[in-house]
């Protein structure tokens, strides 16, 4: 990976996260993330790929400041991310998160308008109600919940999963995010709408220069959607590199195993023949 100018970048440097697990008087330490570094730049997507328990979500949560690292730093434009106060608010304005479960991440009591206007006004105290409303409609149009006006007064239960995830993306854009951390943003959506949501993120990244951290277990979308891929296992990065390189020419055993395990329609009937062959041999 090449070095990037620290200006305009979001950098994870040597992130470590240990969790203390207590059972009775017995305390053990779980090394959830061990020494993970990468740099997000505007208009670029970095994917972190791994299975459950690999530490990929913990990385996302540290970047979004929902979890503080045991060691290591997150640097925005070259300076360490703040821990509290106005500076932290300002960091959060720029780095926003989109969660996996759009059914849990939107408040069922509030309208979509509330979800979008609230971050707008929190981060722009001088904005009037009319301005916030107009901007919220604009944002909904931007994420293709059109016409935006129609979606404003709806509540989350009146939206499909894909629409909810779009609303969550609009909410992340509202305060003026430069970086979006998307933690498995489509894994809970129906397959035929997944690409629509990913394409929206890709558009935002391309057209508005947003830097995206894409956390996923799906190698195929990671490859097509990102520029750089980090493969994580047991808290460590086992392989990293340009997306096509990592997927098409994996070096590490684990990446190869992941690739092997992904369904590939081109191997039509191959598994059946293999298994048939193996049991025929076993029977002899």
């Amino acid at each position: 990976m090449t070095d990037v100018h620290s200006e305009g970048s979001l950098e994870a440097r040597g992130l470590v996260k240990d969790f203390r697990l207590r059972s009775g008087f017995h305390v053990t330490t779980l090394h959830a993330v061990q020494d993970v570094s990468f740099t997000l730049t505007p208009g670029r997507t970095v994917a972190v790929v791994g299975e459950s328990g690999s530490g990929k979500s913990t990385v996302a949560r540290m970047i979004a400041k929902l979890e503080s690292p045991t060691a290591g730093q997150v640097l925005l434009d070259g300076s360490p991310s703040p821990e509290r106060g106005k500076a932290l608010t300002d960091y959060r304005r720029q780095v926003q998160m989109v969660f996996q479960d759009p059914f849990a991440s939107l408040n069922p009591f509030h309208t979509i308008a509330h979800h979008i206007e609230r971050p707008l006004r929190l981060h722009n105290p001088r904005m009037t109600a009319e301005e916030a409303h107009a901007r919220a409609v604009e944002l909904l149009d931007r994420v293709r919940l059109t016409p935006g006006e129609k979606f404003m007064m709806r509540r989350p239960h009146e939206l499909s999963g894909g629409q909810r995830q779009r609303a969550a993306i609009a909410r992340a854009l509202a305060p003026g995010a430069r970086f979006i951390v998307a933690d498995e943003p489509v894994s809970m959506l129906d397959v035929s709408i997944r690409l629509g949501v990913l394409n929206l993120l890709a558009d935002l990244q391309r057209q508005e220069g947003i830097g995206v951290l894409y956390i996923t277990h799906d190698l195929a979308t990671a490859r097509h959607f990102s520029d750089e891929i980090l493969v994580m296992r047991y808290g460590q990065v086992v392989e990293r590199g340009p997306a096509d390189e990592v997927i098409l020419n994996p070096q590490h055993e684990y990446t190869k195993a992941l690739r092997e395990a992904a369904a590939d329609p081109d191997r039509l009937g191959q598994l059946r023949d293999e298994v048939r062959h193996a049991s025929a041999q076993g029977a002899q």
Binding site: E51, L195, A220, I247, P265
Partner: protein, 285 residues
């Protein structure tokens, strides 16, 4: 009636009798051949699980099968009219002829009973003649068959990993040597590497024991890889049916094409994916 067909559903309709009624499955006909893997593909709400429950007589109110016929051509000879089964006959049919593996293994295994007890339950209910020793032996045999160490019999489900729990579920579904196994998203909740191991195991068991499988999933690429034939469902209806090869190489319905393009290929083209490397972002570093 061709003898190589094991389960045949004709014109099945299932309605959820709520207000207004929901027609979840509309006049669906399908036939399952002996020893074949039939893939049932579709997205949430398309009726695939409802149909599977209907085939196994597991529908609960408000779901009602409003029309149709389900016939099992028993390998011991004779046809079983599944829809008209009641009481003890139905009890003997379920699990013995057609078993089922559900999606969430944590929800389908009892958290308060050991694996041994749960495997024994199946056998005591359906094979009352078996002695305790025989049951133990069969249970150990079943676990070995699915690649779980029989020593784990004393474990409770929470002491097993997700993959092992799903293997135990498969062992349980195999217990009575059924002719048909209905698998409803059996690997969706598992990590990909584990998923692959289980799929391989299922294929091997099918090869060795010769049961037929109805494999329900939204993962069309997986079905194309493993199934013999595939049925694609949309809004309660079958929109396309064909061999895995036909569905993959020459899909007829727009919906099948859309589903296929929803999965960008791992190593090949981008499918429905619009992203194109625009100079600054592609290929460098």
């Amino acid at each position: 009636m061709s003898s190589d067909i094991v389960l045949e559903a004709t014109d099945v309709s299932i309605t959820y009798a709520v207000e207004p009624p929901v027609n979840a499955v509309k006049n669906v006909s399908l036939s399952l051949r002996r020893g074949e893997i039939l893939g049932l593909a579709g997205e949430s709400g398309c009726g695939k699980t409802t149909l599977a429950y209907g085939l196994n007589r597991l529908l609960k109110a408000p779901a009602v099968m409003t029309s149709g016929e389900v016939v099992l051509h028993d390998r011991e000879g004779g046809d079983i009219d599944v829809v008209s089964l009641t009481g003890d006959e139905l009890r003997r049919f379920r699990w013995d002829k057609v078993s089922m593996v559900f999606q969430g293994s944590m929800n389908s295994l009892s958290p308060v009973l050991t694996v041994r007890k749960q495997l024994h339950d199946v056998l005591t209910t359906h094979r009352p003649g078996m002695s305790k020793g025989e049951r133990d032996q069969r249970a150990a045999e079943l676990l070995t068959l699915v690649g779980v160490d029989p020593a784990r019999m004393a474990s409770f489900p929470h002491q097993l990993s997700g993959g092992m729990r799903q293997r135990v579920m498969i062992a349980m579904a195999l217990a009575l040597n059924p002719q048909v196994m209905i698998m409803d998203e059996p690997t969706t909740a598992l990590d990909v590497v584990v998923q692959r191991g289980i799929i391989r195991e299922i294929m091997r068991l099918r090869e060795e024991l010769g049961f037929a499988i109805i494999f329900i999933t939204h993962d069309l690429p997986l079905l194309i890889e493993i199934a013999d034939r595939i049925v694609v469902m949309l809004e309660g209806e079958i929109v396309e049916e064909g061999t895995a090869e036909q569905i993959y190489r020459n899909p007829q319905s727009d919906y099948t094409r859309k589903l296929l393009s929803s999965f960008p290929s791992l190593t090949g083209e981008r499918g429905g994916f619009v992203r194109s490397g625009n100079g600054s972002s592609g290929g460098e570093s």
